[in-house]
């Protein structure tokens, strides 16, 4: 004990250290280190800007985000709406993105297909969750801080959130039909699904509430927001989709007669990267893509579309997906009256398997919308030079054919291209139309046909055809000196003419004969129905709508169209060796294809007590 007696101070200090250490046991030591770092808490957002920001987040899920899937969540629904229909092939090469092969072949029960279906399910419900968060937070702030919001703004926020909730459920409904519907106060996320009809009623209920709450023009003048007219238009769409033509007629006519929308003056103004043309009169609602907005990976610049560009021989570089089908390209041929050949020569319009190459020798008259919808050989591709499938613009000709998607591609002169991100050349700020006025008019025409107002339907279809006849693809220019030289070599007049859009009879056009005729009158309801449906395909091709259109026209119609597309329609079949031989492996379209299967992961995750509360769709 010598050291203790000799150095009491030392021992004392040591023991004091121990004691002090023990006193550390006070609460603060642990609680001071408990707070999460680099995050916001619920309290920080419980105010006006928090509510508005939460609502912004709910808009963002209109396209894939950095937190959700890859291409199954695309705003355009290109996989489920275009590739699954007769508009396009998966394209690219045989093995890239195999899930899309299975969607294209109607093998929707495979593990590959399941992964894409999961993405669509996930993005739809993420949209619902975000819309519901905004509604909950709004309620909380309005209750706790009554001064934060004016009544108008509170109603506006609520209206937009309800509208978004309706939209996201509609997206899930048109895919899967029997889905669960989630409102802001729910906590059981393993709910059973509702029947398809009940879901429609729920969607319409939310839309009606939104219509009551929303102002007639977008809040703050911000074009991306839903207004009362957006909600009304959307209601009409839902009514048409659910077969309520009488109801739709009322709603859509109201929008047509009293709403703020009009057709663009020319077709090339509809899908465009030019900022001045964005959100024009035809836009009812669009995903507001933005490029070079400070986001470092180009995630807001149409991430969902980035695969759908011509391949590495072109300016874009990759990946050659969503290639227009031979069937679609043939569909743009017109007869001597400038009316669709598919109507006047139903047995032969699709007979040609040949690459539909543009050029002075090609005098087959076509609808000018063809060359705004599909890239094809011999025709300038917007203002990027002469399209050349053999020159590397197509990834694997044997697999995907010679055509490329075009609507979603930016114009060089628009400056809409992203400067950042993987393959930045395939990212742009071209808004993705979620609903445009031509679409609405054609839905109205359908309702008019079904309610026997054939004159009304003729007028609508002719107005759309008149607009289609305004401009055609012009020379444009090459993406660089070499492509410009190739363009001029093919078409010398292009040396001095760089207009991208020209009148359809412009002398500079040497690659096609364009013609769009007017229907004199629809003679009977059946002809009118087919003419409207034909017009709908011509106008909205490659916009992700075709498959859902075919399906809502009934099992018989959809099966005839899809099985005909593969096995012989208009004198040509896709599964032939001259076209896409691999289509021979496609499953026949039958009743079960009327709904996509609910993702197996979600069915499994809905299990409580051994019971799967989400019932799988019939046949899957």
């Amino acid at each position: 004990m010598k050291i203790v007696s000799k150095h009491p101070l030392l021992v004392g200090t040591a023991l004091l250290t121990l004691a002090t250490g023990a006193l550390y046991g006070c609460k603060d030591f642990l609680s001071n280190a408990a707070a999460p770092q680099g995050t916001l808490d619920a309290g920080t957002l419980a105010n006006r800007s928090g509510v508005e920001g939460t609502l912004i987040g709910a808009y963002r899920t209109l396209d894939c985000t950095s937190a959700t899937g890859a291409w199954g969540c695309a705003a355009s629904d290109w996989v489920f709406g275009s590739v699954a229909a007769d508009d396009s092939y998966k394209g690219s090469n045989a093995t890239d993105q195999p899930p899309v092969n299975d969607i294209e072949g109607y093998h929707w029960g495979t593990p590959d297909a399941d992964s894409y279906l999961e993405q669509k399910w996930q993005i739809s419900y993420e949209g619902v969750v975000r819309a519901n968060s905004a509604l909950r937070l709004l309620k909380q702030v309005v209750t706790s801080s009554p001064g934060e919001f004016s009544v108008a703004d509170a109603n506006g926020v609520a209206g937009e959130a309800l509208f978004l909730r309706a939209h996201y459920h509609f997206e899930a409904w048109k895919m899967f039909g029997n889905i669960p519907y989630y409102r802001e106060d729910e906590t059981d996320f393993r709910k059973a699904n509702e029947t398809s009809a009940l879901v429609v009623a729920d969607i319409l209920k939310d839309l009606d509430s939104a219509i009551k709450l929303l102002p007639t023009t977008p809040r703050n003048g911000q074009k991306g927001r839903a207004s009362q007219w957006t909600a009304k238009a959307y209601k009409g769409r839902v009514q048409v989709y659910s077969g309520d033509y009488a109801g739709a007629l009322v709603t859509l006519k109201d929008v047509k007669n009293n709403g703020p929308y009009a057709l663009e003056t020319s077709y090339d103004h509809v899908w465009t990267g030019f900022a001045a043309l964005a959100n024009g009169p035809e836009t009812i609602w669009a995903f507001q893509a933005s490029a070079n907005d400070g986001e470092p990976n180009g995630n807001n610049a149409n991430f969902g579309e980035r695969l759908n560009f011509p391949y590495s021989g072109s300016h874009f570089g990759c990946c050659g997906f969503n290639q227009p089908s031979q069937n679609l390209v043939n569909f743009y041929q017109v007869d001597v009256n400038g009316l669709p050949l598919a109507l006047s020569s139903a047995a032969t319009w699709n007979a040609s398997d040949a690459n539909f190459v543009g050029g002075p020798a090609n005098v087959t008259p076509v609808d000018p919308r063809l060359d705004w919808t599909a890239g094809r050989d011999g025709v300038p591709y917007k203002d990027w030079g002469l399209y050349s499938s053999a020159g590397g613009w197509v990834r694997d000709l044997g697999n995907g054919g010679p055509y490329s998607p075009k609507k979603n591609a930016e114009e060089q002169a628009s400056g809409a291209e992203s400067k950042v991100g993987w393959q930045n050349t395939q990212l742009n700020s071209v808004n993705i139309h979620l609903f445009r006025y031509a679409d609405l008019l054609l839905l109205l025409a359908e309702a008019e046909v079904e309610t026997n107002d054939l004159a009304g339907a003729t007028a609508i279809v002719n107005s759309i055809r008149a607009r289609a006849g305004v401009t055609a693809q012009g020379c444009g220019k090459g993406s660089d000196a070499a492509t410009q030289a190739a363009l001029v070599a093919a078409y010398p007049a292009c040396a001095t003419d760089s207009r991208m859009a020209v009148p359809i009879n412009d002398p500079s056009i040497k690659w096609a004969v364009y013609k769009v005729g007017q229907y004199p009158t629809f003679t009977d309801q059946a002809y009118a129905r087919e003419a409207v449906r034909t017009e709908r395909r011509l106008e909205l091709a490659m916009e992700g709508q075709r498959f859902f259109d075919l399906r809502r026209w009934g099992l018989a119609y959809a099966a005839a169209a899809i099985n005909g597309y593969i096995n012989g329609e208009g004198g040509g079949m896709e599964k032939s060796s001259a076209r896409r031989l691999y289509k021979a492996g496609a499953e026949t379209f039958i009743a079960r294809h009327m709904f996509y299967p609910i993702p197996s992961l979600e069915v499994s995750l809905s299990t409580i007590g051994g019971t799967k509360r989400l019932a799988q769709n019939p046949g899957w």
Partner: protein, 1078 residues
Amino acid sequence: MEKVLGTHSFLNGGSRWLLAAGASLLFTLVFSGRALSQDIAVSGTVTSTVGAPISGVTVRVQGTDTRAVTNASGKYFLRAPADAVLTFSYVGQRQVQTTIAGRNTVDATMAQIPYLEEVVVTAYTEQRRGDITGAVSSVNVAAAERQTGASVLKALDATVPGITVTGSGSPGSRSTVRIRGISSFQNNDPLYIIDGTPVQDSYINFLNPNDITSIQVLKDASAASIYGSRASNGVILIETNRKGVAGPPRTTLRVRTGVASPVRGYDDFLIENSADYFQVVKQSYLNAGQAVPTAVYGDLNNPTVPNYIFAASGAATSVDPYGRPITVDATKYSFPNSLIMPGSTGTNWWKAVFSPAGVGDYNADVAGGSDDNAYRVSFNYFNQTGTAIYNDYRRGSVRVNTQFNRSKLTFGENMALSVDRSYGGIPNDPGGYAEDNIIGKSVLMQPVIPVFDINGNFAGGKCCGLGNQFNPVHVAFAAKDNLTKNNRAFGNGFVGLEITPSLTFKTNAGFTVYQNSFNGFNTAFPENAEATFTYGINESDFQSTDWNVSNTLRYIKTLNRNSFDFLVGQEAGANNNRSISASMSNLLSTDLNSRYIQDALGDASTKNVFSSGGKSALLSVFGKADYNFADKYVASATVRRDGSSRLAPGHQWGTFPAYGLGWRLTNEPFLSNNRILTDVMLRYGWGVTGNQLIPPGRIVSVFGGDRGDTFYDISGTNAIVPGYRQSLQGNPDLKWEENKSSNVGADMVLLNGMFNVVVDVYKRATNNLLFAPQAPATAGVAAPPIVNIGKMRNTGIDFSIGHQAAAWNVTFNGSHYKNEIVSINGVQNFFYGPISTRYGNQVINEVGHPIGAFYGYIADGYFKDAADVAAHATQDGAAPGRLKFRDVNGDGKITLDDRTIIGSPHPKFTGGLDLGAHRGNFDVSATVFGTFGNKIFNVQDEFYVFRNFETNVRKDLLANSWTPQNLNAKYPRLDKNDLYSHALSSFYVEDGSYIRLRNVQVGYNVRSAMSRWLPDDSRVYVQAENMFTHTNYSGLDPALPAANVFGAAGDIRDQYMGVDRGSYPTNKVFSFGFTTSF
């Protein structure tokens, strides 16, 4: 424009400085310590009780600084006063004292300390084995030293039963250590205690293996629960040499240099010849009824390798009928847009990337001291060049350990600085596809593609069906200046006070200050099929500070035949970290000196900055009581209370009790002097340990936003405004995860020490498992809350059997465990693994099965013919020659519901064999490791069998594919349209068992007679590692590293074991080593 330049200079600035400083200090110490003497010469031989010479015995002249060490023949030589006393001491042997008494020859016989008398370092104290009731394994540090590598952990799996270690051949790669299976869905790393200080980081590369003197592994709760929190995955106690060697400075040099090469290459089993490759392509088109492409090989019946596979537009001056350039105009070449690439008759892509590479490990230390003090200073420089091109790892470290004894006071410190630098390689096997690194899909490039184009720039598949793989040499070249730096200062100071002979107080303060930084370069790939043209950089910096203080009071008392040992203590520690990362694209110059993130150096609008941080704290009190009666009955009890900042208020504190019982059977009268059972102790232990190692701050729900996820251009003007969403759901009830374990064991010394046997049988049940299982998408993408509800169970057995003879020794150890998920969250019974590959997710965690089980269809061979297709359940794409999947649920169709568990990555048995022998001045040692019954999911089949993305394929693919004549072929029918057989199934699952000769070392102890220049205590050796592997695995290397996967709940790599996505293979290493002391 990029050209291939020379490799790096041998040393960079920092390491050169370190080496220079080390060398000069060394010489100062060496030349200051010599003393003259007029004494008599004494020499002798030290042998064991069985007559074997013992080398390394320290022979000291008592009361002086004079000292010698025996050589391999057990001989020593020194000068000493004729009447002096000599002490012989050596680890593991009882000390011997002899007076010289005027003799010139003084021999000694040393007896081994019996196994149960060995003193080992355990939690907070040192204990005699005979007093330990838990499962504690000591690592054979000497065997561990026979592995070449930056981390000591790599060597543990063959040498300690119950431990598995995975790691890749990438220099400096992280090793993943698991003790007794997997007890949690996340964070299964053991707790490392280095010189009494807990270390959070399991990347142990910062510790120089040569500084380590002992490693103890606390495997069960009764041994580990005094560490309470964090101990549920076991504890590894590492002691660095702080005792020094009493006497004048003694210098030891240890040098090893060698050459490493991969154990296997893709060129061993992938096609190397372009013409052979074309035959595969041709057959797959023909079988699909499609036209065979002619753009590369021309006439399909007379294929030829083209002069050029790609020529920029206008560069071809003549072409053949297939459009292939015969001659080109090289003046049309320009980089990056107009490239011209020759065709290759067969590029060996593996050899283009991998080649033998050097490794060097240089150590110097100086140790010395007296009764009052001891010191050891060590220096290390380790440099391993990767077998992959442009891959290099270097580490320098300095350690200073001191201890001072002043009367009743003991104090000292252990302090180390470690700096490492690495370039390239795959130090952390990534999550995600893992395709685009230097192995993955990249080395599956088609052989017709050359490495370089006609101008010496990198070539690629920029043509007609050559695939969009990355040129792996380009990938490596682009990363050659990507520098990862780790700087770390760590250590501890300690003070001990002997208040009375029975009562001691000890305090220990430890710290780690750590900095990690990375500078990366993203290059353009203009030669790719999907060409890219932009250059970018990214960099990050991470700083972390840890501190830990513990105070313990120990009281030891012996009363007659009862002895008591009490310990009480208190501990506190905290971590703070912060990181910042930034990136920028579209660099104006790619010059190394311009790679900074500044507005003018690239596109300023692409600048992106991100910072984050974390905080956590732990507070603990603990106590331990040991009781021993007559060396026959041993009992111990432990209790610890831990408070964690990561858990919810009200649940922050957890209590972790444990107890153990031991019975020294052979000390009973009825077994005393038993001829077979020399010394036997039976042990039983039970205890509870905890786990709280989840990311901090998960108690409350948090919100956030991201420009690419929640921000939106609401006004349609190409300008985004902020948006928010819930980013994760908190759980205000977060509690401790608890692991209850029980262990029954026996330590046996048989036949008078001829055999040593240790056997342990255990059961570990984890309760309140902390994890965030996937929630339904209807709940949103916000990270689901971490909940405490799952249960997991491990049962197993570990054993080791050792035999010691005069001239040789052998130890065999083995272990078996069975892991089972007992429940997940009370609602769902499964969740998928964290990674999807191209064809989906092949891992499921399901109740009733082990963690990380493989999942998919059962492949039942191939469809024979159309009748077979018709007879089978309806299957998408069914056709003769395609894989047939089993209708598991018998509903007549193959659907997603037919997927099932198709294998487990967990071994049924792992074992190690350690052999040693010596004769004369030679010694030989070897280690063999084997793992049995584990399966590997070979994802690389997606490419080299199913040819996704037009990759290269296996050499035997054409010959062994299904044909009507070869119904039981190894591979399905070659068919371009077969997009069905590739579905994830048991076809991909292979036996991953292997036996590997880890190392063989032959050493020679230099005798002074043979060399005038070398000190007596010198040894040279040659060593060969991983020279021989026996396995049926068809891929590169069955020894797969764990993928570096993190999820919302932290490190979840154990949910992704045994999946081969293209990892850096283990190395064969031939080396030469030299050790000397003077």
